[in-house]
Assembly symmetry: C2
Protein backbone atom coordinates (compact mmCIF):
# COMPACT_ATOMS: atom_id res chain seq x y z
CA UNK A 1 0.00 0.00 0.00
CA UNK A 2 1.38 3.43 -0.87
CA UNK A 3 2.26 5.54 2.09
CA UNK A 4 2.24 9.27 2.78
CA UNK A 5 3.24 11.62 5.57
CA UNK A 6 0.58 14.27 6.26
CA UNK A 7 1.25 17.39 8.32
CA UNK A 8 -1.74 17.73 10.62
CA UNK A 9 -2.36 20.76 12.81
CA UNK A 10 -5.90 19.91 13.85
CA UNK A 11 -7.31 22.81 11.86
CA UNK A 12 -9.75 22.76 9.01
CA UNK A 13 -7.25 22.78 6.13
CA UNK A 14 -4.96 20.02 7.39
CA UNK A 15 -7.93 17.80 8.31
CA UNK A 16 -9.25 18.16 4.78
CA UNK A 17 -5.77 17.43 3.41
CA UNK A 18 -5.61 14.20 5.42
CA UNK A 19 -9.04 13.24 4.00
CA UNK A 20 -7.77 13.94 0.46
CA UNK A 21 -4.69 11.75 1.05
CA UNK A 22 -6.89 8.95 2.40
CA UNK A 23 -9.27 9.27 -0.57
CA UNK A 24 -6.29 8.87 -2.90
CA UNK A 25 -5.56 5.52 -1.31
CA UNK A 26 -2.61 6.42 0.90
CA UNK A 27 -1.78 4.74 4.14
CA UNK A 28 -1.16 7.90 6.18
CA UNK A 29 1.21 8.89 8.95
CA UNK A 30 -0.04 12.13 10.52
CA UNK A 31 2.59 14.47 11.95
CA UNK A 32 1.85 17.22 14.48
CA UNK A 33 4.12 19.61 16.33
CA UNK A 34 4.08 20.85 19.91
CA UNK A 35 5.92 24.06 19.12
CA UNK A 36 4.94 26.33 21.97
CA UNK A 37 1.75 27.48 20.28
CA UNK A 38 -0.84 29.36 22.39
CA UNK A 39 -3.48 27.12 20.96
CA UNK A 40 -2.12 23.73 22.09
CA UNK A 41 -5.70 22.44 22.08
CA UNK A 42 -4.95 21.97 18.38
CA UNK A 43 -2.99 18.84 19.27
CA UNK A 44 -5.97 17.15 20.90
CA UNK A 45 -8.00 18.09 17.86
CA UNK A 46 -5.28 16.64 15.62
CA UNK A 47 -5.44 13.32 17.49
CA UNK A 48 -9.23 13.17 17.16
CA UNK A 49 -9.04 14.04 13.44
CA UNK A 50 -6.34 11.44 12.82
CA UNK A 51 -8.54 8.76 14.42
CA UNK A 52 -11.71 9.88 12.64
CA UNK A 53 -10.03 9.83 9.22
CA UNK A 54 -8.19 6.56 9.73
CA UNK A 55 -4.55 7.64 9.85
CA UNK A 56 -2.32 4.67 10.71
CA UNK A 57 -0.14 6.65 13.08
CA UNK A 58 -0.16 10.05 14.70
CA UNK A 59 3.22 11.37 15.80
CA UNK A 60 3.71 14.53 17.84
CA UNK A 61 7.14 16.13 17.57
CA UNK A 62 8.36 18.53 20.24
CA UNK A 63 10.17 21.61 19.00
CA UNK A 64 10.49 24.85 20.84
CA UNK A 65 9.78 27.79 18.58
CA UNK A 66 9.05 30.01 21.58
CA UNK A 67 12.77 30.52 22.14
CA UNK A 68 12.94 31.98 18.63
CA UNK A 69 9.88 34.18 19.08
CA UNK A 70 8.78 36.69 16.48
CA UNK A 71 5.10 35.72 16.38
CA UNK A 72 1.89 36.31 18.29
CA UNK A 73 1.26 32.57 18.13
CA UNK A 74 4.37 31.69 20.12
CA UNK A 75 5.24 34.86 22.05
CA UNK A 76 3.33 36.89 24.57
CA UNK A 77 1.81 39.28 22.04
CA UNK A 78 -1.91 39.95 21.59
CA UNK A 79 -3.66 38.08 18.77
CA UNK A 80 -5.48 40.60 16.54
CA UNK A 81 -9.28 40.35 16.51
CA UNK A 82 -12.17 41.92 14.66
CA UNK A 83 -10.13 42.91 11.60
CA UNK A 84 -11.98 43.83 8.44
CA UNK A 85 -11.72 41.81 5.25
CA UNK A 86 -9.39 44.39 3.66
CA UNK A 87 -7.19 44.37 6.77
CA UNK A 88 -7.10 40.58 6.61
CA UNK A 89 -6.05 40.73 2.98
CA UNK A 90 -3.16 43.17 3.34
CA UNK A 91 0.31 42.41 4.61
CA UNK A 92 1.70 39.60 6.72
CA UNK A 93 -0.03 39.32 10.09
CA UNK A 94 1.71 39.15 13.47
CA UNK A 95 0.48 35.56 13.74
CA UNK A 96 2.96 34.53 11.04
CA UNK A 97 5.54 32.21 12.67
CA UNK A 98 9.03 32.65 11.15
CA UNK A 99 9.97 29.78 8.87
CA UNK A 100 7.35 27.53 10.45
CA UNK A 101 6.30 25.64 7.35
CA UNK A 102 9.96 25.21 6.36
CA UNK A 103 10.67 23.64 9.75
CA UNK A 104 7.54 21.47 9.64
CA UNK A 105 8.21 20.30 6.08
CA UNK A 106 11.82 19.52 7.02
CA UNK A 107 10.66 17.16 9.76
CA UNK A 108 8.12 15.74 7.32
CA UNK A 109 10.94 15.12 4.87
CA UNK A 110 12.96 13.31 7.54
CA UNK A 111 9.98 11.07 8.29
CA UNK A 112 9.45 10.40 4.60
CA UNK A 113 13.08 9.46 4.21
CA UNK A 114 13.02 7.01 7.12
CA UNK A 115 9.71 5.50 5.97
CA UNK A 116 10.92 5.26 2.38
CA UNK A 117 8.08 7.25 0.89
CA UNK A 118 8.26 10.34 -1.33
CA UNK A 119 4.75 11.64 -0.64
CA UNK A 120 4.39 14.50 1.80
CA UNK A 121 1.07 16.35 2.21
CA UNK A 122 0.59 19.85 3.58
CA UNK A 123 -2.65 21.82 3.83
CA UNK A 124 -1.39 25.22 2.74
CA UNK A 125 -3.73 27.49 0.93
CA UNK A 126 -2.73 30.61 -0.96
CA UNK A 127 -6.13 31.88 -1.99
CA UNK A 128 -8.97 33.33 0.06
CA UNK A 129 -6.62 34.79 2.60
CA UNK A 130 -3.29 33.86 3.88
CA UNK A 131 -0.61 36.52 3.77
CA UNK A 132 1.87 33.86 4.87
CA UNK A 133 4.88 33.72 2.52
CA UNK A 134 5.34 29.99 3.11
CA UNK A 135 1.89 29.17 1.76
CA UNK A 136 2.61 30.31 -1.80
CA UNK A 137 2.91 27.87 -4.73
CA UNK A 138 6.42 29.11 -5.66
CA UNK A 139 7.57 28.37 -2.12
CA UNK A 140 6.16 24.83 -2.20
CA UNK A 141 7.87 24.20 -5.55
CA UNK A 142 11.19 25.47 -4.19
CA UNK A 143 10.90 23.24 -1.13
CA UNK A 144 10.21 20.25 -3.35
CA UNK A 145 13.26 21.03 -5.51
CA UNK A 146 15.42 21.31 -2.39
CA UNK A 147 13.99 18.09 -0.94
CA UNK A 148 15.00 16.25 -4.09
CA UNK A 149 18.62 17.20 -3.46
CA UNK A 150 18.61 16.75 0.31
CA UNK A 151 18.33 13.06 0.96
CA UNK A 152 19.88 9.66 0.51
CA UNK A 153 17.28 8.85 -2.15
CA UNK A 154 18.30 11.90 -4.17
CA UNK A 155 21.85 10.54 -4.44
CA UNK A 156 20.83 6.97 -5.03
CA UNK A 157 18.01 7.94 -7.42
CA UNK A 158 15.62 5.59 -5.66
CA UNK A 159 12.79 7.98 -4.90
CA UNK A 160 11.34 11.32 -5.93
CA UNK A 161 9.81 13.57 -3.30
CA UNK A 162 6.57 15.27 -4.02
CA UNK A 163 5.06 17.95 -1.80
CA UNK A 164 1.30 17.56 -2.21
CA UNK A 165 -0.64 20.73 -1.46
CA UNK A 166 -4.11 19.78 -2.68
CA UNK A 167 -5.79 22.89 -1.25
CA UNK A 168 -3.33 25.40 -2.65
CA UNK A 169 -5.79 27.10 -4.99
CA UNK A 170 -9.07 26.45 -3.16
CA UNK A 171 -11.23 28.95 -1.32
CA UNK A 172 -12.24 28.12 2.27
CA UNK A 173 -15.76 27.37 1.04
CA UNK A 174 -14.41 24.96 -1.59
CA UNK A 175 -12.23 23.27 1.02
CA UNK A 176 -15.22 22.81 3.34
CA UNK A 177 -17.39 21.38 0.57
CA UNK A 178 -14.63 19.02 -0.49
CA UNK A 179 -13.99 17.90 3.08
CA UNK A 180 -17.67 17.29 3.76
CA UNK A 181 -17.91 15.17 0.63
CA UNK A 182 -14.94 13.16 1.95
CA UNK A 183 -16.54 12.71 5.37
CA UNK A 184 -14.47 15.11 7.48
CA UNK A 185 -16.13 15.76 10.84
CA UNK A 186 -15.39 19.48 11.21
CA UNK A 187 -16.75 19.51 14.76
CA UNK A 188 -13.42 17.89 15.72
CA UNK A 189 -11.24 20.54 14.05
CA UNK A 190 -9.94 23.69 15.74
CA UNK A 191 -8.75 26.81 13.92
CA UNK A 192 -8.90 29.56 16.55
CA UNK A 193 -5.68 31.38 17.46
CA UNK A 194 -6.93 32.11 20.97
CA UNK A 195 -9.40 29.49 22.24
CA UNK A 196 -10.60 29.33 25.86
CA UNK A 197 -9.66 26.51 28.24
CA UNK A 198 -12.56 24.40 26.97
CA UNK A 199 -11.22 24.66 23.44
CA UNK A 200 -14.03 26.94 22.32
CA UNK A 201 -13.13 29.34 19.53
CA UNK A 202 -13.14 33.11 20.08
CA UNK A 203 -15.01 33.82 16.84
CA UNK A 204 -13.11 37.07 16.31
CA UNK A 205 -9.46 36.35 15.44
CA UNK A 206 -8.31 36.27 11.79
CA UNK A 207 -8.47 32.50 11.69
CA UNK A 208 -12.00 32.32 13.14
CA UNK A 209 -13.21 35.00 10.73
CA UNK A 210 -11.85 33.17 7.72
CA UNK A 211 -13.30 29.91 8.91
CA UNK A 212 -16.73 31.35 9.64
CA UNK A 213 -16.82 33.19 6.32
CA UNK A 214 -15.90 29.93 4.58
CA UNK A 215 -18.73 28.04 6.27
CA UNK A 216 -21.15 30.87 5.46
CA UNK A 217 -20.11 30.80 1.78
CA UNK A 218 -20.45 27.02 1.72
CA UNK A 219 -23.97 27.41 3.16
CA UNK A 220 -23.20 25.26 6.19
CA UNK A 221 -23.13 25.95 9.93
CA UNK A 222 -19.71 25.42 11.55
CA UNK A 223 -20.22 22.50 13.98
CA UNK A 224 -17.18 23.47 16.12
CA UNK A 225 -17.80 25.07 19.54
CA UNK A 226 -17.58 28.85 19.97
CA UNK A 227 -17.48 30.94 23.13
CA UNK A 228 -20.20 33.35 22.08
CA UNK A 229 -21.51 35.18 19.03
CA UNK A 230 -19.75 34.54 15.72
CA UNK A 231 -18.42 37.57 13.96
CA UNK A 232 -18.95 37.43 10.19
Amino acid sequence: MKRAVVLLSGGLDSATTLAVARSEGYDTIALSFRYGQRHAIELEAAGAVARQLGASRHEIIDIDLRSIGGSALTADLPVPTGRSRSELESGIPITYVPARNTIFLSFGLAWCEVLGTGDLFIGVNSLDYSGYPDCRPEYIQAFEAMANLATRASVEGSLRYRIHAPLLSSTKAEIIRRGRALGVDYSLTRSCYDPDLHGRACGRCDSCQLRLRGFAEAGVTDPAPYQGPRDP
Copy 2:
Protein backbone atom coordinates in the same frame (compact mmCIF):
# COMPACT_ATOMS: atom_id res chain seq x y z
CA MET B 1 27.50 45.79 12.82
CA LYS B 2 26.45 43.11 10.37
CA ARG B 3 25.10 39.98 11.97
CA ALA B 4 25.15 36.30 11.08
CA VAL B 5 23.73 33.08 12.40
CA VAL B 6 26.30 30.26 12.45
CA LEU B 7 25.36 26.60 12.88
CA LEU B 8 27.86 25.23 15.39
CA SER B 9 28.15 21.54 16.21
CA GLY B 10 31.36 21.74 18.22
CA GLY B 11 33.26 19.87 15.55
CA LEU B 12 36.24 20.96 13.50
CA ASP B 13 34.36 22.23 10.44
CA SER B 14 31.74 24.33 12.22
CA ALA B 15 34.37 25.86 14.55
CA THR B 16 36.38 26.90 11.51
CA THR B 17 33.23 28.29 9.90
CA LEU B 18 32.54 30.41 12.97
CA ALA B 19 36.10 31.72 12.80
CA VAL B 20 35.61 32.59 9.11
CA ALA B 21 32.39 34.49 9.90
CA ARG B 22 34.14 36.38 12.70
CA SER B 23 37.08 37.21 10.40
CA GLU B 24 34.63 38.65 7.88
CA GLY B 25 33.42 41.09 10.53
CA TYR B 26 30.15 39.48 11.52
CA ASP B 27 28.61 39.72 14.94
CA THR B 28 27.74 36.02 15.34
CA ILE B 29 24.90 34.09 16.93
CA ALA B 30 25.94 30.45 17.24
CA LEU B 31 23.19 27.84 17.04
CA SER B 32 23.54 24.27 18.31
CA PHE B 33 21.05 21.42 18.53
CA ARG B 34 20.42 18.83 21.21
CA TYR B 35 18.92 16.31 18.84
CA GLY B 36 19.39 13.05 20.64
CA GLN B 37 22.90 12.54 19.30
CA ARG B 38 25.09 9.86 20.91
CA HIS B 39 27.89 12.36 21.08
CA ALA B 40 26.19 15.05 23.22
CA ILE B 41 29.64 16.06 24.45
CA GLU B 42 29.62 18.06 21.20
CA LEU B 43 27.38 20.62 22.89
CA GLU B 44 29.90 21.36 25.63
CA ALA B 45 32.52 21.67 22.94
CA ALA B 46 30.26 24.03 20.99
CA GLY B 47 29.90 26.28 24.05
CA ALA B 48 33.66 26.38 24.57
CA VAL B 49 34.27 27.11 20.88
CA ALA B 50 31.62 29.87 20.84
CA ARG B 51 33.35 31.56 23.81
CA GLN B 52 36.84 31.14 22.39
CA LEU B 53 35.90 32.66 19.06
CA GLY B 54 33.84 35.51 20.47
CA ALA B 55 30.30 34.62 19.39
CA SER B 56 27.82 37.08 20.92
CA ARG B 57 25.31 34.38 21.77
CA HIS B 58 25.15 30.62 21.83
CA GLU B 59 21.68 29.12 21.60
CA ILE B 60 20.92 25.43 22.02
CA ILE B 61 17.69 24.23 20.45
CA ASP B 62 16.07 21.00 21.60
CA ILE B 63 14.68 18.78 18.88
CA ASP B 64 14.13 15.09 19.12
CA LEU B 65 15.41 13.31 16.03
CA ARG B 66 15.61 10.02 17.96
CA SER B 67 11.87 9.50 17.49
CA ILE B 68 12.49 9.61 13.74
CA GLY B 69 15.49 7.27 13.84
CA GLY B 70 17.20 6.02 10.74
CA SER B 71 20.78 6.77 11.76
CA ALA B 72 23.57 5.30 13.87
CA LEU B 73 24.04 8.76 15.37
CA THR B 74 20.57 8.87 16.89
CA ALA B 75 19.46 5.25 17.15
CA ASP B 76 20.92 2.27 18.94
CA LEU B 77 23.03 1.07 16.03
CA PRO B 78 26.77 0.49 16.07
CA VAL B 79 28.97 3.28 14.69
CA PRO B 80 31.31 1.81 12.04
CA THR B 81 35.02 1.90 12.88
CA GLY B 82 38.28 1.12 11.16
CA ARG B 83 36.95 1.54 7.64
CA SER B 84 39.42 1.93 4.81
CA ARG B 85 39.74 5.08 2.75
CA SER B 86 37.88 3.48 -0.18
CA GLU B 87 35.10 2.32 2.14
CA LEU B 88 34.88 5.85 3.52
CA GLU B 89 34.57 7.25 0.04
CA SER B 90 31.79 4.99 -1.24
CA GLY B 91 28.10 5.32 -0.49
CA ILE B 92 26.21 7.05 2.27
CA PRO B 93 27.21 5.85 5.73
CA ILE B 94 24.81 4.69 8.45
CA THR B 95 25.82 7.80 10.42
CA TYR B 96 23.90 9.94 7.94
CA VAL B 97 20.95 11.49 9.82
CA PRO B 98 17.86 11.88 7.60
CA ALA B 99 17.27 15.47 6.54
CA ARG B 100 19.43 16.75 9.40
CA ASN B 101 20.98 19.70 7.62
CA THR B 102 17.59 20.66 6.19
CA ILE B 103 16.14 20.72 9.70
CA PHE B 104 19.14 22.63 11.12
CA LEU B 105 19.14 25.18 8.29
CA SER B 106 15.38 25.66 8.72
CA PHE B 107 15.88 26.62 12.35
CA GLY B 108 18.78 28.83 11.29
CA LEU B 109 16.49 30.52 8.79
CA ALA B 110 13.89 31.15 11.51
CA TRP B 111 16.56 32.76 13.69
CA CYS B 112 17.79 34.85 10.77
CA GLU B 113 14.29 36.04 10.08
CA VAL B 114 13.65 37.06 13.69
CA LEU B 115 17.04 38.77 13.95
CA GLY B 116 16.58 40.52 10.61
CA THR B 117 19.73 39.19 9.04
CA GLY B 118 20.14 37.29 5.78
CA ASP B 119 23.50 35.66 6.54
CA LEU B 120 23.48 32.04 7.62
CA PHE B 121 26.72 30.05 7.89
CA ILE B 122 27.08 26.28 7.77
CA GLY B 123 30.28 24.24 7.86
CA VAL B 124 29.42 21.64 5.24
CA ASN B 125 32.16 20.21 3.16
CA SER B 126 31.70 18.19 0.01
CA LEU B 127 35.31 17.31 -0.73
CA ASP B 128 37.73 15.02 1.06
CA TYR B 129 35.00 12.74 2.27
CA SER B 130 31.43 13.21 3.12
CA GLY B 131 28.93 10.98 1.37
CA TYR B 132 26.18 13.04 2.95
CA PRO B 133 23.69 14.25 0.32
CA ASP B 134 22.96 17.42 2.26
CA CYS B 135 26.57 18.57 2.09
CA ARG B 136 26.65 19.04 -1.69
CA PRO B 137 26.83 22.47 -3.35
CA GLU B 138 23.63 21.88 -5.38
CA TYR B 139 21.76 21.15 -2.17
CA ILE B 140 23.01 24.34 -0.51
CA GLN B 141 21.97 26.37 -3.58
CA ALA B 142 18.51 24.80 -3.57
CA PHE B 143 18.08 25.55 0.13
CA GLU B 144 19.08 29.17 -0.49
CA ALA B 145 16.56 29.47 -3.34
CA MET B 146 13.83 28.03 -1.12
CA ALA B 147 14.79 30.32 1.79
CA ASN B 148 14.37 33.32 -0.47
CA LEU B 149 10.74 32.36 -1.03
CA ALA B 150 9.97 31.22 2.51
CA THR B 151 9.95 34.31 4.65
CA ARG B 152 8.37 37.65 5.34
CA ALA B 153 11.40 39.38 3.82
CA SER B 154 10.95 37.46 0.58
CA VAL B 155 7.47 38.94 0.17
CA GLU B 156 8.43 42.41 1.31
CA GLY B 157 11.70 42.38 -0.66
CA SER B 158 13.59 43.68 2.35
CA LEU B 159 16.32 41.08 2.63
CA ARG B 160 18.10 38.41 0.66
CA TYR B 161 19.16 35.20 2.36
CA ARG B 162 22.55 33.81 1.69
CA ILE B 163 23.71 30.40 2.87
CA HIS B 164 27.45 30.77 3.42
CA ALA B 165 29.33 27.49 3.17
CA PRO B 166 32.92 28.71 3.19
CA LEU B 167 34.42 25.21 3.52
CA LEU B 168 32.40 23.61 0.76
CA SER B 169 35.38 22.91 -1.52
CA SER B 170 38.17 22.61 1.03
CA THR B 171 40.02 19.50 2.09
CA LYS B 172 40.24 18.73 5.80
CA ALA B 173 43.90 19.76 5.73
CA GLU B 174 43.02 23.10 4.12
CA ILE B 175 40.28 23.66 6.70
CA ILE B 176 42.70 23.00 9.55
CA ARG B 177 45.33 25.35 8.10
CA ARG B 178 42.74 28.06 7.58
CA GLY B 179 41.35 27.65 11.08
CA ARG B 180 44.79 27.75 12.67
CA ALA B 181 45.54 30.96 10.80
CA LEU B 182 42.29 32.38 12.21
CA GLY B 183 43.16 31.32 15.76
CA VAL B 184 40.82 28.36 16.22
CA ASP B 185 41.79 26.31 19.29
CA TYR B 186 41.17 22.81 17.94
CA SER B 187 41.78 21.26 21.35
CA LEU B 188 38.24 22.47 22.19
CA THR B 189 36.57 20.84 19.20
CA ARG B 190 35.09 17.34 19.13
CA SER B 191 34.43 15.30 16.00
CA CYS B 192 34.18 11.72 17.27
CA TYR B 193 30.92 9.84 16.68
CA ASP B 194 31.45 7.68 19.74
CA PRO B 195 33.49 9.43 22.46
CA ASP B 196 33.93 8.04 25.98
CA LEU B 197 32.41 9.67 29.06
CA HIS B 198 35.41 11.98 29.39
CA GLY B 199 34.82 13.25 25.86
CA ARG B 200 37.91 11.50 24.50
CA ALA B 201 37.70 10.51 20.86
CA CYS B 202 37.75 6.86 19.80
CA GLY B 203 40.27 7.46 17.00
CA ARG B 204 38.66 4.79 14.81
CA CYS B 205 35.23 5.96 13.59
CA ASP B 206 34.84 7.57 10.17
CA SER B 207 34.86 11.05 11.64
CA CYS B 208 38.01 10.47 13.72
CA GLN B 209 39.79 8.97 10.73
CA LEU B 210 38.99 11.93 8.52
CA ARG B 211 40.03 14.35 11.21
CA LEU B 212 43.29 12.58 11.96
CA ARG B 213 44.13 12.27 8.28
CA GLY B 214 43.46 16.00 7.87
CA PHE B 215 45.80 16.88 10.72
CA ALA B 216 48.44 14.54 9.32
CA GLU B 217 48.18 16.15 5.88
CA ALA B 218 48.36 19.60 7.44
CA GLY B 219 51.51 18.49 9.28
CA VAL B 220 50.06 19.25 12.70
CA THR B 221 49.26 17.09 15.72
CA ASP B 222 45.58 17.07 16.68
CA PRO B 223 45.44 18.70 20.14
CA ALA B 224 42.09 17.08 21.04
CA PRO B 225 42.07 14.20 23.56
CA TYR B 226 41.95 10.59 22.33
CA GLN B 227 41.30 7.38 24.28
CA GLY B 228 44.26 5.52 22.90
CA PRO B 229 46.23 5.02 19.70
CA ARG B 230 45.17 7.03 16.69
CA ASP B 231 44.37 5.05 13.60
CA PRO B 232 45.63 6.72 10.41
